[in-house]
């Protein structure tokens, strides 16, 4: 009985305190107390919040796990598709630039009727330097026709089938092109050398040749049109006891990584028999 009375008094006291608190709060009287509590609890809240946040995030993440996995897979697929598109666009851009360069070259030399061709193979023999292109007799390609790029001379057609042709590069040991030095007009013969180099031979002793000189086709012999760029002199070998000088020439065209070339359709070679020992 006594205990029940005590509990009732305690409840009444607590209610009275709450009421008093509410009244005081309305009047702004508990603010200092509230501030004191806040100051005391704020650091504890901060620490607890930091400790609990990862657990809370993990809990939320676990809830999103399956949807995240789905999203990840979808994004991965999208990423792959986009990457493929980028690669295709880059390829198209390179091809576009190649064609644009060829088109510019075509308009720069209107006298030459040029046919664009794609390189589809290289000679599998290390001793020989040939290319296979995707244009043949059906496209008007004939044996002996010069092949070039906008950078310079590549070689000439050596064999033709209906839909493909083989091109003997100027670096093949059987190739030989009548040439001249642009600066001094010294003439000679640019020949291929095993290992893929070019050597300009039969340059008369008195003629001026120096590293850096540009080498062009001379047109002599009638196998190539005049004034096509062959390359640049890298070094000169001259001995007083010999009749001629020799020069190592770096090809203007990177013959190793060719993708597109142009065949000169309106040039009929006249002296195949004299050059390269071909019939």
């Amino acid at each position: 009985m006594k205990g029940q009375r005590g509990r009732a008094i305690a409840v009444i006291v607590v209610l009275a305190l709450i009421l008093a608190w509410l009244v005081l709060d309305q009047a702004g009287g508990v603010n200092p107390v509230r501030d004191g509590f806040s100051r005391l609890l704020a650091p504890v809240q901060l620490v607890l919040g930091r400790l609990v946040r990862p657990v809370s995030d993990l809990w939320q993440s676990a809830g999103h796990w399956f949807s995240l996995q789905k999203d990840y897979e979808a994004l991965r697929q999208e990423n792959l598709a986009l990457r493929n598109q980028v690669i295709l666009l880059q390829e198209a851009q390179i091809e576009n630039e190649n064609l644009r360069r060829q088109l510019n070259y075509k308009s720069a030399v209107p006298a030459l009727e040029l046919l664009a061709a794609e390189v589809i193979g290289h000679d599998p023999n290390n001793l020989l330097r040939y290319l296979i292109i995707d244009r043949g007799a059906a496209d008007g390609v004939q044996r002996g026709m010069p092949v070039l790029t906008a950078e310079g001379l590549v070689g000439r057609i050596s064999e033709v089938s209906a839909s493909a042709a083989k091109v003997m590069l100027i670096t093949d040991p059987s190739s030989s092109v009548s040439a001249l030095i642009q600066r001094s007009r010294a003439t000679g013969m640019v020949q291929g050398y095993p290992g893929g180099e070019l050597v300009m031979r039969y340059i008369p002793q008195g003629d001026m040749v120096a590293p850096g000189d540009i080498v062009l086709t001379s047109g002599l012999g009638g196998n190539f049109p005049k004034r096509l760029v062959i390359g640049q002199v890298a070094s000169v070998s001259q001995r007083d006891v010999e009749m001629f000088q020799e020069a190592v020439v770096i090809p203007a065209v990177n013959l190793r990584d060719l993708e597109m070339v142009m065949v000169v359709l309106n040039f009929a070679p006249t002296g195949l028999a004299q050059e390269g020992g071909e019939p």
């Binding site: 193979g121 000679d123 023999n125 290390n126 001793l127 296979i132 040991p173 059987s174 190793r256």
Partner: protein
């Protein structure tokens, strides 16, 4: 071993050499995939299979090459026969055998090719051809032999377990 597999492999490697491997240039030369395969096949499968590989691979290489037709196939046949002689006379299980064989076979291949080219009126300068092409090719082919020989060995064991040949 089914000859069909030998033919398919020789064809595939010849095409690979013309399209992809020809872009790989070390010391100025590309590895001779068909030659590597022919030598490996002779050592692993014997003279007949090696000869078949030489014939098929050589014909395809000749067809894709701008050089005179037949020179590669002839050179490869000579190499396969020579490798078969070496394979029979040397201790077959010797670890170094494939490497010595490919080193010498490459030299023989280029020597025969240059000789045949000269005989058929397509002479190439011997000195530069040997020094700038044949010697680097001997080194590069020997360096690529572990790869090709290991693959050929694995394929050979999987498709045709080794048998004893009595001569």
């Amino acid at each position: 071993m089914s000859p069909v597999l030998t033919i398919v492999l020789a064809l595939f490697l010849a095409l690979l050499q013309s399209t992809v491997v020809s872009h790989v240039r070390i010391l100025g030369v590309s590895p001779d995939m068909v030659l590597l395969f022919v030598v490996s096949w002779v050592l692993l499968q014997g003279r007949q299979e090696g000869l078949l590989a030489a014939l098929v691979g050589g014909l395809v290489v000749d067809a894709l090459s701008g050089g005179p037709f037949g020179l590669t196939v002839l050179s490869l046949v000579v190499v396969s026969l020579a490798a078969a002689v070496g394979e029979r006379n040397l201790f077959r299980a010797a670890r170094f055998l494939p490497y010595i064989t490919i080193f010498l076979a490459t030299g023989l291949f280029y020597g025969v090719f240059l000789f045949m080219a000269q005989m058929t009126g397509h002479a190439l300068p011997w000195g530069p051809a040997l020094w700038r092409v044949a010697v680097p090719a001997m080194v590069i082919n020997t360096a690529f032999m572990p790869l090709v020989y290991t693959l050929a060995h694995a394929l050979s064991r999987r498709l045709a377990p080794p048998t004893v040949e009595w001569s």
